[in-house]
Each structure stands twice: as C-alpha cells, then as structure tokens.
C-alpha cells in the first residue's frame, strides 16, 4: 500500500499525542515509563509533517514484569487444573491505566490486601484441584495413583511447574516446593492430598506464576533490543491469542527452535487462532475496549428508563460481540465493517427495543439495518450509546470523546485551568436541545479548541437517547444531526459518520494501537514507529482482516522483542 501523506502525518501526530487545547505541553509525554529509554515522545526526533526520517532505528518498548490479568489467571488455572479449580479462582482485581487493565498490570504494584487475596485464591484453587484431580492427572499421572509417594511431588513441581511458570524449573526451584509438600503431608498424618494442596498453593503464589517475565536476551550486544527467549515468546503468544499459559506442545516447539523465524511464528499463531479460546480472548479484549463489561451495572434513571434491565443490557453486550464474532471469525472480513455494518444481531429482547422484527428462532440472529433505522455499525449499537451517556441524558461529548480516544486513538487535553465547565442555565421560556446547549458552550474560545473536534461527532448520534433507543426529537424539539469536524468533514446522521470513520486511515491504525496498549500493556513508543508503519501496511494489504493482523502482529519485532527492563 502506498502510504499517503495524511497517514504519515496521523502517525507522527498520534505518537506525539498532541492535545487540542491551550496547553499541549501537558499532554506531550506519551509514555513516561518509557522515558528511561532513548524514546523522545515530544516529536523532536521525527518531523511529524514529513513522516519518519530515513534510517530511523527500531527500538522496542521496555521489557519487564506484567502481572497476570484476572482472566489470564483464571484461564491458566482452567487449563492447568480444570473447570472446578477455575470456578474457585478469585485473584486480585485488575486496575486500568490509560483505559487498559494490561497497562495497569505492567505498571502498578500490588497492595497488601491483594497479596492476601492471592493466597486465598491459591488455597481455594488448590483445594478444588485436589478434590477433582482429573485435569492435573492428565499432566502428572502419578497424582491419580492409589498411594503416591513423595516422588510424585517432584513430578508435580517439574511437569506442572513448567506449564505454570512457562519454563523449566531448576532443581533449586523445585526443592522448596517439594519440601512444602512433604511438610504438609507430615502435618496431615501422611495424607498425600494435603501435601499436593500446599504444593499447588506454593506454585500459584510464586511471582513466577503471577507475573509474566519478559526480559529477552540482548541481540548483538545491544541492551535496548532484546529478542524474547523462545519460552518468553511462546508465553506472550499464548496469553495474547488464547488468554492463558502456553501448553506443553507450544513450549516444546519453542524449546526446539520452532519459533525462530517469522514464518514459523505466523504458522503457529494461525494454528492458535483456530482454537475456541481465541474467540473468548478476543471477546474479552473488545469487552474492555468498548466498555461492555460493566454495562449491566451502569446507572440509568429508573424513572425515565424502566426498561433498562440487566437482561436488556446483557443483550446489548451480546449484539456487539456477535457482530465482532461474525466479522472476525465467521466471515474473516474487513474489520472496519465493525464501524459501518449495515446489519446487526438481535434477540427478541433487543429486536423489540430497536423496533425490528423479532427473530424467527431463539437467540441472536443477523438482521439487515435499513437507512430508516439510522443505525450502522458500532456507533448504532445500544451498548455504545448507553454506555457513553449520562443516567438520564445523552452526552455528545462522551460519545465524541470515545470516538476520538478509542476508535481514532487521539489524545485529548483536559479542560484548561479555571474554565467554567457548566452548560448555560436553561431559560424555561426557551427550551433547548442538548446540541443547542453545547453549541452555545462551544463559543467560549477556551473550550472550543477541543469541543469543536469532539461534540459534533456526538451530534450525529442525537437521535439515540441515553440508553440507545431511537427518539424522534429532544424534549419535543426537532433534532439536527448534522455536524462537521476539520478532519472528518461534514456528515448528516449516524450512518454518514460511520462511513467516514470506517474509511479513515486513523481507524485502522487505531485497531493496531489498541492491541499494543490492551494486550502488550504499553502505550506505543516512538521507537516502535518504523515497525508500526509496516504493520499498518500489512493490515491494509491483508484487506484489514483482523485474523491476519493478529498473526502479523505476533511475527512483528514489536511483539518479538523488548528493550532494557523497565
């Protein structure tokens, strides 16, 4: 793909995260944690108006520790110890930074109560795994024998330990685990099961289980460019694509040089994507990105929206996830149709909510969206429209800001100091629509630098109320759903906006950025830019298919290497 000037500009600008308001200096530092490397994120190393300078070196983001996210912990426990153990798992909460739990897991420390919760969870998981030993026995058969000896504890440490810690354990590392098991067996009157339980507890409380370690080995003596070790790469691929610890086959493959070349990595990634866990992992990813997770718990006015029940909210979540599944897995189609699809998925609950014909069969079915529905793609989904609104009112600003930050990956500065963020007081004799209030607000020169970029996007969605239902007017006043921004141009309503967003080059770029942020756990750095541009091209060349992108991302140096540990 020929890279256009606009595309290069958008990358340069976005990597430097230029704010829109009066004080861009505040928002110039993209990733402070990366500032210990030679990354300069204020744009001084690259001229954003001309794209990358010739010979710009690739420098990967810093390596180090990433704590297992809750779903990764549970997924790993399910793989290692079975469904009952997974049901008992209750690791510490995730806390996001920059909108992603993965970034929080790469930067934040655990507090004391979390360490206690790790112990509590390990105890519950281990008890369940010992009570139902089938899964564990598939890896370590001796636990199923009638009277196992202490030698079985060594087998658990070696064989399960390798899967849980994602690398072979040394004798120095297994000895304390076996010691704990033997002590527990003695403490419990020679009960093998007790020893097994405490050994599993020890394995699951180890930092080697709780944190993914990615430090690589320096290539050619360059401390800032360190290809991941084969076991680290297998681990990163497995968590990225399957949401869990790597299986024995993948670790074996890595250990025998099977992940050495990009072609080998692509083939392996494609094989992992064919597993059912890949779908679940992608659903988890987009549930976070698109704020679907807590939709059933959001506050909506019970007086205005008595129909906003948890059941309806769950149907809204499922609509978006069904469309995602359809585009990515069933059709393997251009991912950008997520933003402008002229069809969607509804069940009876949601069909009634949208005023669409009920599906002929139970569950969700695809239905066409006609122009008169004014919906197309994600921005017409009630999940998005309800989540990005207030309890009783719409919020063009929230909707627009989400499009800017999560779909276009742009940075937006906060309101300037001292600004009065209040909307004009209503005149009871002159009722105003939400748009009219905001337009008046936007006349303030301190505000309009940002709001002219944000609010018009939301104006196009004003036919959808605070829970995403279509409305003919706003408090009886006619709606004007036209708008324009300097970068997107003019649009009339949600469908035109959707079309503009789907074909905007920043949208495709942002799909990739979100995986770096939400899966690899860091804001993209300037040093990654040369390789990132290749990924953008590759995504386009592959017809913007997400499966293709995920494979290409795993084979990319961004994925395969890290910088000096942070």
């Amino acid at each position: 793909m020929l890279r256009s000037h606009v595309c290069a500009l958008s990358v340069g600008v976005s990597f430097a995260l230029v704010g829109c308001a009066s004080d861009p200096a505040d928002s110039a530092t993209l990733d402070p944690s990366a500032s210990t490397t030679s990354d300069v994120t204020d744009g001084t190393t690259a001229d954003p108006t001309t794209g990358e300078p010739p010979g710009e070196p690739f420098e990967p983001a810093p390596g180090g520790l990433r704590r297992l996210l809750r779903h990764q912990y549970v997924g790993s426990v399910r793989y290692l110890l079975g469904d009952a153990a997974a049901a008992a798992a209750d690791p510490p909460n995730d806390y996001s930074l920059h909108g992603f739990d993965a970034i929080g897991a790469a930067e934040l420390s655990l507090q004391a109560s979390a360490i206690e919760q790790i112990e509590t969870s390990a105890r519950a998981v281990a008890a369940a795994a010992v009570a139902d030993r089938g899964r564990l026995g598939s890896f370590v058969p001796c636990v199923l024998e009638p009277e196992p000896t202490d030698a079985c504890y060594q087998k658990v440490a070696d064989d399960l330990g390798r899967l849980a810690w994602r690398r072979p354990l040394t004798a120095e590392e297994t000895a304390p685990l076996v010691d704990i098991a033997v002590q527990a067996r003695n403490w419990a009157d020679d009960d093998f099961a007790a020893g097994l339980q405490y050994e599993l507890m020890a394995l699951l409380q180890a930092p080697e289980f709780l944190y993914i370690v990615e430090v690589g080995e320096p290539a050619d003596g360059d401390p800032n460019n360190r290809p991941l070790t084969p076991a680290e790469l297998a681990t990163r691929m497995s968590f990225f694509l399957l949401g869990r610890t790597p299986d024995a086959e993948l670790l074996d493959l890595a250990a025998t040089g099977g992940l050495a070349s990009p072609e080998q990595i692509r083939a392996t990634a494609a094989a992992l994507l064919a597993r059912p866990e890949a779908r679940d992992t992608l659903r988890t990813f987009y549930s976070e990105l698109l704020l679907l997770r807590d939709l059933p718990g959001v506050n909506k006015s019970a007086e205005l929206f008595p129909n906003f029940t948890p059941e309806l909210a769950r149907a809204m979540q499922q609509e978006t996830l069904h469309l995602l599944d359809d585009i990515v897995w069933d059709q393997d189609a251009d991912f950008r149709s997520l933003f402008d699809a002229d069809y969607t998925f509804v069940d009876a609950t949601l069909a009634a909510f949208y005023g669409l014909p009920a599906p002929t069969e139970p569950g969700f079915q695809a239905v066409p969206l006609e122009p008169e529905h004014e919906r197309a793609g994600l921005l017409g989904h009630a999940s998005f429209l309800a989540r990005l609104a207030h309890p009783s009112l719409t919020s063009p600003t929230r909707r627009g800001l989400f499009v800017r930050t999560k779909l276009l990956c742009e940075g937006v500065a906060p309101p300037p100091p001292g600004v009065d963020t209040s909307l004009p007081p209503p005149d009871p004799n002159k009722p105003q629509t939400m748009k009219q209030k905001l337009v008046q607000h936007m006349e303030d020169p301190k505000c309009n630098g940002c709001h002219v970029q944000i609010d018009p996007i939301g104006f196009a969605l004003e036919h959808f109320d605070a829970i995403g239902a279509w409305r003919p007017n706003d408090q009886g006043l006619p709606l004007d759903v036209t708008g324009s921004t300097a970068d997107l141009g003019a649009f009339d309503g949600a469908r035109e906006l959707a079309g503009l967003l789907a074909t905007d080059e920043r949208t495709a770029s942002c799909v990739i950025r979100n995986f770096i942020r939400g899966s690899l756990g860091h804001l993209e750095t300037l040093g990654e830019r040369p390789v990132f541009l290749d990924l953008e091209d590759s995504f386009a060349d592959g017809g913007f298919r997400l499966q293709h992108l995920l494979v290409e991302l795993t084979a990319s140096p961004i994925f395969r290497s890290v910088g000096a540990p942070k």
């Binding site: 930067e107 934040l108 360490i115 206690e116 405490y198 180890a206 506050n299 006015s301």
Partner: protein
C-alpha cells in the same frame, strides 16, 4: 517485633499446639495495664487515623460557618454533624497549592501535598504518599493490619483515568491502595483469617518464605520500576505473614454482614453500605486490628446518583448545571449525613480505656475541589473530626484562613499537623508548591 506478633521462630515451635481460642473478653480487662493509662505490655494507648473523601465539593456559601472560633454556628451543610459537633473542627479559606489543574485531580492534593505526575489528558497518578500512609508507616507496625481502605459508592468516574481519582490512599505513584466496596470482602480482610482451623500457619509462612526466595532470584533480571513493584509485593508478603502469625484478637468479632453493595433496580444502597462499613471500622479500631483507614465515600467526577434522594441525575452532573445547585446542596447535606452517621457510631463506641472513638481518633475529611461548578481549589474545605487523645483542639473550632476570599493559607499545613500528632519528629509533608513545613498552631490540642 510488635506486641501482636510472635517472634517467628517461637511461633514455628509453638503454633502447632493450637491457636488461642477467640473469646469475648471485655476489651479493657484484656488489654489495659493496672493503671488504665497504657496497654498491658506498657505501650501507649492507641490513637487512630482515618481519611474520608466525598466528591465534587460543596456549595461554599452554604457550607462555610458564619463565624470563626469555638462555638461557631453550624452551617446548613454542616448541620448533620450537630450530634458530634464538639468533635468537629472546620477549616475554610485554605488554598490547595497543587501546581497542575486538570479538573478534580488537583483537589486530591489536599490528601498528600504532592502534585500529580504523568499527567496526560484526564489521566494522572498520585505524586506521593497520602497522609494516611505516612501515619501508617509510623503506627501500622503495632497492629495485625497496617491500614484498610474502603469505599461506599462504587460508580467511580469513567472519564478520568489513572490512579488519582480511583484510590484515596497511595504509597506512591505506582502504589495506589484501592478501596474495597463490598462489605463482605472488607469483613474477610479484617476478620476472616484469624484462628484458622486446622491451624496450618507454619505451612503458609513456609510458602511465603519460598516466595521471598523466588522474588530475590527474579529481581536481579529486572529494572528499577519492576524492582519497586517487587518491593511492594514483598511488603505485602510481610504484611500477610504478620497477620497470619498475629495472636487472634481478644475481642468478640462481628458476624459477616449480609450487605454486598449490590444495586437494586438502579438504586445504590449507599446508606446501608455506609452503615455496615462504619460498624466494621468501629470493630476494627476497638479490637485494634488496624489503626489507619481510608474511606472513599463517593468518587470525584463519579457516576454516582443519589437515588435515595429521588435524584435521577448524577451528583457530578448536577454540580455542572447552574440550575441544579439546589440538588447539589441536598447531595452535600446527604453526604454529611452519612459522614455524621459514621461519626455517631464512633462516638457511641467505647475504646479500650473507656473513652469514645472520637476522643481517640483523628478523621480528616475533604473533597476534590471547593465547589464542583468551577472546580476551584482556592477555598478547599477540610473537616477534622475527633481529637486523637487531645492532640488536636477540643472542642472543635472553625478556623478560617485570612484574608477573605483568597488567602495563601496552605491546606498541607493541616496534613502536617495531623502527621505530627502521630510523629512529633515530622518536619514537613509534601513537595513543591503544596509542601508544608508549618503545622497549623490554631488547631493544636492540649497534648500536641
């Protein structure tokens, strides 16, 4: 070694004989020395500290009392505190000197005297340790749990990100102490792990020893940031071992509450959760399980709706609507009622030496701005409840920094005063413009 913690080697020899039974001895007899002026082991009587946060400020003309000094008249918004008013000192007119203004975040500087770091749009991290953690570092070693962090309304801001607006307590930029919003989880944290049956504590501490060794091997391969994270992890391991090996409390423990902080038909059970959390705090303090707490009652810029008032619109949204300022006022009164409900439980609770918990505690209460409409932090109000065994002034006063309306009075002076109540050697708190090296003499108590 603290008095609740057995020497570890002693413990390993002796613990298998069975944990001490959890009996409901009256606290005073069990814990006090013969003169009633110290604990049985000779250590001083305990003093507690707590921060309490409510979001989006007040309405200053309806909050600030009309006169200063003792016997000040309670304002409309302070009226809910009438039952505990002798324990209430109100500070107004002080300036939060945070160096960066990004709306709401800067207000949190009132709890630590540090400007936020890594600011990026509506993202920031706390710039330094909050006052509760400074005090916990001084007195937390004396109890099984160093500090506990609770929240009441769980609908925090979805537009702000980072740690500043989502945790009230911080040890540093990457060490937020996130609150727990479910009373059952708080109960587990405070009371759930004492006197395990069967007693497997030597095995559990053995696992923790293994974790320490594993961590030591790991850290050599990592950089500065991750080593700091592993330090925090090891601090947590030490805290867990201390709790595991602590003697069970000698007071009767409460039953696990039924309340789980689940919304019903869109109504968040704020009053019920606040009441249960307050009860748990009273137990935790009077049993001396911890001496430091933070309560994030309601987040700044949060999504919370005060449905119990019949409101349909979020309190934060209301603060930005000039036509809704009466609803904002009612929200502030409602929050002060919840604060008062907790303080009244403290006043009714009998501490180890017969005093009430307001006599023996200091509670620091503030918000993330002075008024939500403007986000101003110029006159950011602070409420101090309790005098902490006469370290702070009693009966309480209204202190107003002069001149009106914009003084240079530093909110961090109040932080330093609180810190010195627990650590007389402390000389300063915070950094940069919000730093203070000048405690506020006007609120010193008889034994400061």
């Amino acid at each position: 070694m603290s008095r609740f913690t057995l020497n570890r080697r002693t413990f390993l020899r002796g613990a298998l004989g069975g944990a001490a039974a959890c009996v409901g001895l009256p606290l005073m007899e069990a814990m006090l020395d013969n003169h009633g002026e110290a604990l049985a082991d000779g250590s001083p009587l305990p003093t507690r500290f707590m921060t309490w946060f409510f979001g989006n400020g007040v309405i200053l003309p309806r909050f600030e009392p009309a006169a200063v000094g003792a016997n000040y008249p309670l304002s409309e918004e302070l009226q809910p505190l009438a039952e505990v008013r002798e324990y209430i000192t109100v500070l107004t007119g002080l300036k939060n000197r945070c160096e960066q203004l990004i709306t709401h975040h800067e207000g949190m500087t009132v709890f630590n005297g540090h400007t936020m770091v890594e600011i990026n749009g509506l993202f920031s991290k706390a710039g330094g340790p909050t006052i509760d953690q400074l005090i916990a570092a001084k007195i937390g070693k004396d109890t099984p749990i160093e500090s506990v962090h609770l929240g009441v309304s769980k609908h925090l801001s979805i537009m702000d990100s980072g740690t500043t607006m989502h945790a009230l307590s911080h040890k540093g930029p990457n060490e937020p102490q996130f609150p727990k919003f479910n009373p059952q989880e708080v109960w587990n944290l405070l009371f759930g792990s004492f006197a395990p049956k069967p007693d497997d504590r030597p095995l559990r501490t053995g696992i923790l020893d293994a974790v320490r060794d594993q961590t030591a091997r790991l850290r050599r391969r990592l950089g500065k940031l991750d080593n700091e994270r592993l330090d925090a992890h090891l601090d947590g391991v030490d805290a867990l071992e201390k709790k595991i090996t602590a003697a069970p409390p000698v007071c009767a423990l409460p039953d696990m509450p039924d309340e789980t902080n689940t919304d019903i038909n869109g109504v968040e059970p704020i009053t019920a959760v606040n009441d249960v959390m307050s009860d748990l705090l009273v137990y935790a303090f009077t049993c001396d399980i911890t001496r430091v707490a933070s309560v994030l009652f309601h987040g700044g810029a949060a999504e919370t709706v005060f449905s119990e008032l019949g409101q349909q619109v979020g309190h934060h949204y209301n603060t930005h609507d000039p036509a809704a300022q009466q609803a904002v006022h009612e929200g502030v009164v409602y929050m002060m009622q919840r604060f008062a409900a907790m303080l009244e439980k403290f006043k009714a609770a009998v501490d180890v030496d017969g005093k009430n918990l307001l006599d023996t505690s200091i509670i620091f209460c503030s918000s993330d701005c002075a008024e939500g409409l403007t986000h101003s932090v110029e006159r950011q109000p602070i409420i101090l409840a309790g005098h902490g065994r006469d370290k702070l002034i009693y009966p309480g006063i209204h202190y107003q920094a002069a001149p009106y309306p914009t003084s240079a009075g530093n909110t961090s002076d109040v932080l330093l005063t609180c810190l010195k109540a627990f650590d007389p050697a402390a000389t300063a708190v915070g950094a940069g413009a919000p730093r203070s090296a000048t405690p506020l003499a006007a609120i010193h108590g008889a034994k400061f």
